[in-house]
């Protein structure tokens, strides 16, 4: 998994000097990992109706890219977006409560796992439809440009989403109009059971993107520092009015596509190998340890804090009330006079 740059980028993957920053990233990744393993467990326990898509293994993509953003920057996700939501600052409590379908969830139970949102934190929603979040982010970038807001919009998409036509319509428009937009493709090698070699004609997703007239880079998505550097460079470009960037982040999902996936499409050894040799959390931990910025106790403390945070979120979700069934329907007030039907 070497870093490939389709077009030269001057981002250099040098870690920030500030150990506190890196430890915060590590802590955030640990929260996501715990959140995801607990979510899977709770899905099997029928606590989470309809199941979830776990992002375990992909933590560095979300945290690395979102830590390159400012609070005013907007993020839109995919069906697999717990990591994006948490990295963008959504409280684990409101996310977990949403997975449960409780009134205290971020949409009061209307949305569920694939429809997380937090407008106050500029997390513009995850999305059940492959490729669609990219479009919402692209439109947001258009608004930013028209409103001359000093901000960027980031959309995520999977490797599978690189085959849906809308993805390339969105990229074309963003590139043509030089929108402050970053497309991040989480290439985790699979779309459900389909390995990228059986879905993508051509050499690489970044290579495909380059044909649409925007800088397209491929980075090791398990290296949070590299992801952060690529996203920072892309953000700088966007804020400078130079237009969008496409980042292909090469990563891996540890769990099945969704809860219940039999995973007969890959060897357990492949998963084990990624876990053992390409784990983003262990990589950052090691980097910090080598610099003398994190000892065993420090790591254990971060883990414990993550575990406690997630336990608190679960407790919160468990204790929260169900939504009032009177909220099933939104009132559509504006145009509807008395007497209009339905």
């Amino acid at each position: 998994m070497t870093e490939q740059r389709t077009e030269a980028e001057d981002a250099t993957a040098v870690a920030p000097a500030d150990a506190g920053t890196l430890r915060e990233w590590l802590g955030q990744m640990l929260i996501i990992r715990r959140f995801e393993s607990e979510s899977v467990r709770l899905s099997y326990a029928n606590k989470i109706p309809g199941g979830i898509h776990s992002s375990e293994g992909q933590e560095a993509v979300a945290v690395g890219s979102i830590r390159a953003l400012g609070a005013a920057d907007v993020v839109a996700g995919t069906h697999r977006s717990h990591h994006h939501a948490l990295a963008k600052g959504m409280p684990p409590r409101t996310v977990m409560a949403e997975l449960y379908g409780k009134a205290t969830g971020c949409t009061g139970g209307r949305g569920g796992s694939m429809h997380l949102v937090d407008l106050s934190r500029n997390f513009l929603g995850s999305n059940g439809i492959v490729g669609a979040g990219l479009g919402v982010a692209m439109g947001t970038a258009l608004a930013m440009k028209l409103q001359q807001r000093p901000a960027v919009a980031v959309g995520y998409v999977g490797d599978g989403g690189a085959n849906t036509g809308r993805t390339w319509e969105f990229i074309n428009l963003a590139a043509l109009w030089k929108l402050p937009f970053i497309a991040i493709c989480e290439n985790n090698l699979y779309a459900v059971e389909t390995h990228i070699s059986r879905s993508l004609a051509g050499d690489s997703i970044a290579g495909r993107a380059a044909g649409f007239g925007l800088p397209a880079v491929a980075v090791d998505g398990q290296d949070i520092v590299a992801v952060h550097a690529a996203a920072s460079a892309a953000r700088d470009r966007a804020l400078n009015g130079e237009g969008p960037t496409f980042i292909e982040a090469r990563t891996y999902r540890y769990e099945g596509h969704n809860v219940g996936d039999v995973q007969n499409y890959r060897d357990a050894s492949e998963v084990a190998s990624w876990r053992q040799t390409h784990d983003p959390i262990q990589a950052l931990r090691q980097r910090l340890a080598e610099r003398g910025d994190l000892d065993e106790a420090g790591y254990a403390a971060l883990r414990q804090q993550a575990d406690e945070t997630v336990a608190d979120a679960i407790d919160f979700a468990e204790r929260s009330p169900w939504p009032d069934t009177g909220t099933v329907q939104r009132a559509w007030p504006a145009a509807e006079p008395a007497g209009a039907s339905r």
Binding site: A132, G135, Q147, R166, E169, P337, G339
Partner: protein
Amino acid sequence: MSPLSYSQAYRAGLAEEMEANPGIFVMGTDIFLRGGHFAQLLGLGERFGADRIRDVPISEAAMVAAGVGAAIQGMRPVVDLNFQEFAYGAMDELCNQAAKIHYMFDIPVPLVIRATNGIAYGGAQHNTAMESWFAEMPGLYVAVPATPADAKGLIKTALHLDDPVLFLMHKALTGARGETGGPDVRVPFGRASVVRPGDQVTLIGYGVTVRTCTEAAGQLAGDGISAEVIDLRTLYPLDVETVTDSLRKTGRAVMVDESAGYGGVSAEIAAALQEAAFDYLDAPILRVHAPHSPVPQSPPLLQAYLPDHGAVEQAVRTQLARP
């Protein structure tokens, strides 16, 4: 004011709102110079500039997605699809994104999708009565002006709503002329208009079939039959009350549209009316529509395809012939 064409009236309403609200901008193919395929935006490119009358490559999903994202961010985009059928390429963006975001996320999506609908020359792929699809989809509003005044007044209202509006203008009305309201006249959604009063039968239409109904009413009047004509004006919300009030008076209703005659708005009207005014019905509600078939191109075939006032008169006579 001097009379404007349907197309000019739309443009006038849009331009007034654009002057008042800098957040409004238009996206579509071939709108900057050509003013769209029905000249609906002619001259606005020069007037408002290329940022606000924004030509987009042929990528309907992208233009609607751009509209959804921009709308969420506080802009008021109008996406002009030219032909309603081009919405097929943006159906997820329209129905799974635009229509559902306000419900799921509690974020307003003030997006207008303008398109030309109705049956005319151009062949099957450019002519489909699919406006009922949008009316059926929770989260979308649907406006179908039949006159210049409504084209102007309804677009002005649409540009003040918090939810996506499908604004569908009938091809065959493009050049129709009429008086229009002033800058403050907004036509509300969900209020049908009684176009012609009568008391023996209620004829209901929208878009071009309001004209069909009016023609039929004129003919029937010659035979001493008094028909009330109602223009629905918006398909969602649907003003069942006004139609029911009329039916309570007349006891008979005929719904006329260019649909292929299955489900849709005309079925909704019939279903809702028989429920709302069962005891007032002197005859079954009849529907006059096109055959269940794609649309042909050849002039005699197209003429045979389209419902005309003769068919409406026939339906009324059938109702009146009941013992």
